[in-house]
């Protein structure tokens, strides 16, 4: 399935991922992160990765997730929203799931 990656800038930066994230498409995700990490306005305080429609995650995508925490958004809270079962399994096997706050919705329901 074709990979799509849309970006929303702001204090809470958001990236919506859909389709297949593998070695053929990881650069697109990486480029989106680079763009968010150099905002015209203030630097983001949080990053939200919407993964509800991400159907495939290979190690190339996991590596970009690692770089999120190593470079672009080091020290910031990064949310992963609604990952599907199999991409989440890949994150678990690679032991990167512990480095993100995984939620069903963002912002999380209150009350």
């Amino acid at each position: 399935m074709a990979f799509e990656c849309t970006v929303r800038t702001g204090r809470v930066a958001e990236i919506t991922l859909s389709g297949d994230l593998d070695a053929a498409t990881a650069e697109k995700f990486h480029a989106a992160l680079e763009a968010l990490a150099r905002p015209i306005e203030g630097a983001p305080t949080h990053l939200v990765l919407h993964m509800r429609n991400l159907v495939f995650l290979a190690s190339a995508g996991v590596r970009v997730l690692l770089t999120v925490k190593q470079t672009h958004f080091r020290g910031l809270i990064v949310y992963v929203i609604a990952p599907q079962e199999q991409p989440l399994e890949a994150m678990r096997k690679a032991q990167v799931h512990r480095d993100f706050v995984i939620l069903d919705y963002y912002p999380p329901p209150t009350g």
Binding site: A24, F56, A60, V62, E85, Q86, K93, Q95, D99
Partner: protein, 146 residues
């Protein structure tokens, strides 16, 4: 036994075709959803490795472009996917697993995950060097539906 073959250039653009081929074979074999996904992941990782590292260190003008041949074989017990290439010898089993999985992301090395995910996703894996070709065999058992 049913058998299908796909031959593609060893380029990143081929990963989509390889995935379609593997998923179609998985459907033909009646693999469960999780096994289907895991097989696709394993094949994608090993194909990516061939594309990234399989080319000869010193290609000559006469060198044929590297290709990947994918075969799917379905028998009563299992679906086997065979990946063959004529790149430099590479046995994925010799790649040590990452030794820093326990560390926080900030302290981890980038790399080494692909083969680890691939070999951990299939029911059986074997490798052999046949002549000038690498031969990777990935096997998923066909389980009765839940």
């Amino acid at each position: 036994m049913d058998q299908f073959t796909l031959k593609v250039p060893a380029t990143l653009e081929s990963l989509g075709k390889v995935a379609e081929f593997v998923l179609a074979a998985a459907d033909q074999a009646g693999l469960a959803r999780q096994s289907r996904y895991r097989l696709r992941l394993a094949v994608d990782e090993l194909a990516t490795n061939i594309i990234a590292h399989g080319h000869s260190a010193a290609p000559t003008v006469q060198s044929a472009p590297l290709t990947i041949e994918v075969q799917a074989k379905i028998d009563d017990e299992a679906l086997s996917v065979v990946l063959e290439d004529s790149g430099v010898p590479f046995d994925p089993r010799q790649v040590p697993p990452p030794d820093d999985l326990h560390l926080p992301a900030e302290q981890r090395k980038i790399g080494g995950l692909g083969v680890y995910l691939a070999l951990g996703s299939v029911d059986r894996f074997c490798y052999e060097r046949v002549g000038d070709r690498n031969r990777n065999v990935l096997v998923m058992n066909r389980r009765p539906p839940d």
